[in-house]
């Protein structure tokens, strides 16, 4: 049996020093940060990662904060459940509250953290199968590309075809969130949209810019501003509790009968939360009609290259976009948790 240590740092500096490449302790180890543990524990149990130490972040209480004012500040250790229940957040950052309510189950949301949700690893069953040496685990091949790829990417895929599993990520990108990360060289901030990396952009075995010795610290989310509304729709194979087959984070600013501006991000269809700039540009100034919604939906999936078994995702994503636009036009009642 391998040795195992659980470090419990009391400060951020202590935590960062314990991660790979940090200043201490003296003996070499492969340490991983542990927050809510709702993804990492499954990875440990399936031997996808085999660190000899975990760095328990729960002593860093300053990262638990959820500050709701003119803008949002969300600490990395804020629980996902905290986002779904905060009334001001529900009213003004609806897309985020609805996305949070759609995450997994109450048991997971009560433990899972916002930072962990954004940094969770892919759900692709080849990746999750210990016996499959896929490209996300350092192998040479993406078995999904020509295999059972029902749940894989239709946009932005290759050489890996994972989809990003987070519900909060599309919502937060839709809200133009900024993320602050800390590493050995100190904290830095960047747009959350730039935090996530396509397989061709960063390390193929990671889904974001974080290095092994860096931690996600917090998110800053500006107000959408006057006249904006937002929503999150999520299609799942199992209605009660599942990852997204496809999801849609949408914010629109309405002026009379027209859409003045829109922000649109798809989830569950690409290795990153998939922003749709062509659809956003198209929607600006258009009449708020079913014809506009259908045209925007088609633009949202522009460039999609479905694999053998996931062509349905193109239609599903387009349907979600139209449904979200209809909802924000006030033509469909809203309810928590997104599409069932």
């Amino acid at each position: 049996m391998r040795g195992f240590k659980l470090f419990r740092p009391a400060t951020l500096d202590e935590a960062v020093a314990l991660l790979p490449g940090g200043r201490g302790p003296a003996e070499p180890h492969d340490a991983r940060p542990l927050a809510g543990g709702q993804d990492l524990l499954t990875e440990l149990k399936d031997h996808l990662v085999e660190p000899d130490a975990l760095v328990d972040l729960t002593g860093l209480h300053e990262l638990e904060a959820l500050e709701v004012g003119d803008a949002l500040r969300i600490g990395a250790l804020c629980k996902v459940a905290a986002l779904e229940h905060q009334p001001t957040l529900r009213a003004h950052w609806t897309v985020l509250a609805e996305a949070a309510a759609s995450v997994a189950s109450p048991q997971i949301r009560s433990q899972a953290t916002v930072g962990g949700n954004l940094c969770q690893r892919p759900r692709c069953w080849y990746y999750r199968n210990e016996a499959a040496p896929c490209i996300k685990k350092g192998g040479s091949e993406c078995f999904a590309e020509s295999g059972m790829n029902k749940y894989n990417a239709i946009l932005g895929g290759g050489p890996s075809y994972i989809v990003h599993p987070s519900d909060l990520a599309p919502a937060l990108v839709c809200l133009d969130a900024t993320v602050t990360v800390s590493g050995a060289r100190g904290p830095r901030s960047l747009p959350l949209e730039e935090f996530f990396t396509l397989p061709t952009e960063g390390s193929i075995v990671r889904e974001n810019v974080l290095k092994a010795n860096e931690l996600l610290l917090s998110l800053d989310v500006p107000s959408l501003g006057a006249g904006w509304t937002s929503t999150y729709l999520k299609a799942r194979e199992r209605g009660s509790y599942d990852f997204a087959l496809a999801s849609c984070a949408l914010a629109v600013k309405l002026e009379g009968e027209r859409i003045a501006a829109a922000r649109l991000v798809l989830g569950g269809v690409a290795p990153i939360p998939w922003r749709c700039p062509d659809a956003e540009a198209f929607l600006a100034g258009k009449p708020n009609t079913p014809e506009t919604w259908a045209a925007a939906a088609a633009l949202a999936t522009k460039g999609a290259e479905p694999l053998e078994h996931n062509g349905y995702k193109v239609h599903l994503a387009q349907g979600l976009v139209q449904k979200a636009l209809r909802r924000l036009a006030g033509q469909e009642p809203t309810h928590a948790g997104g599409a069932r």
Binding site: F7, A10, P25, T58, A104, S105, Y241
Partner: protein
Amino acid sequence: MKRPPRPQARTSEASPTLSRRTFLKGAGGVAASGVLAREALANAEPSGPPRADAEVLEGPVEVEFALNGVATKVTVEPRTTLLNALRVHLETPHTGAKEVCDRGTCGACTVLLDDEPIYACMTLAVRAHGRSVRTVEGLASGDELTAVQREMVASDGMMCGFCTPGFVMSMTACLEKNPDATEQELREACRGNLCRCGTYPHVFEAGMRVARGGAR
């Protein structure tokens, strides 16, 4: 419910004693209790220079928590899940929480940590330190079942019964917070519980009898 004071962590070799700083931080963090903080102050070792390194748990560690209201100690490795601690490592094993998927998807291991439903299979036992853990064993007083338990029996809310403790704990947590829960709210509360026998209609019938009756 009074929670036990935070115990010292033991390591197999070169056991570092918890520093005053770590001790106080931990005690304050896990329990927002002035009483506990004062106890911690009284019990803390004399103050010294702050430690340079983080606390580390390795090898057997003693975890203390309130299990169904009773101060309980269990010695586990820091990688042991709360579910295994309850079912295997306790001197009196508590097997009400079931191990089924062991991956946080089925809900059979649902227990309440500080009254919040969690998957015990997805939580390290050390996370329960200084906190309250409630399992299905702690619901009944002697032979007197809680309303949720009684109505589960009366509604025939189970077949094989493996998922039942999880559903009972999820519904208990929901109805404690909101005694007037609607069926939709009960269903939301049980989204993370899976019954492969398909007894959902009877389960929610039981929950709604409690919600309407309001007697728990």
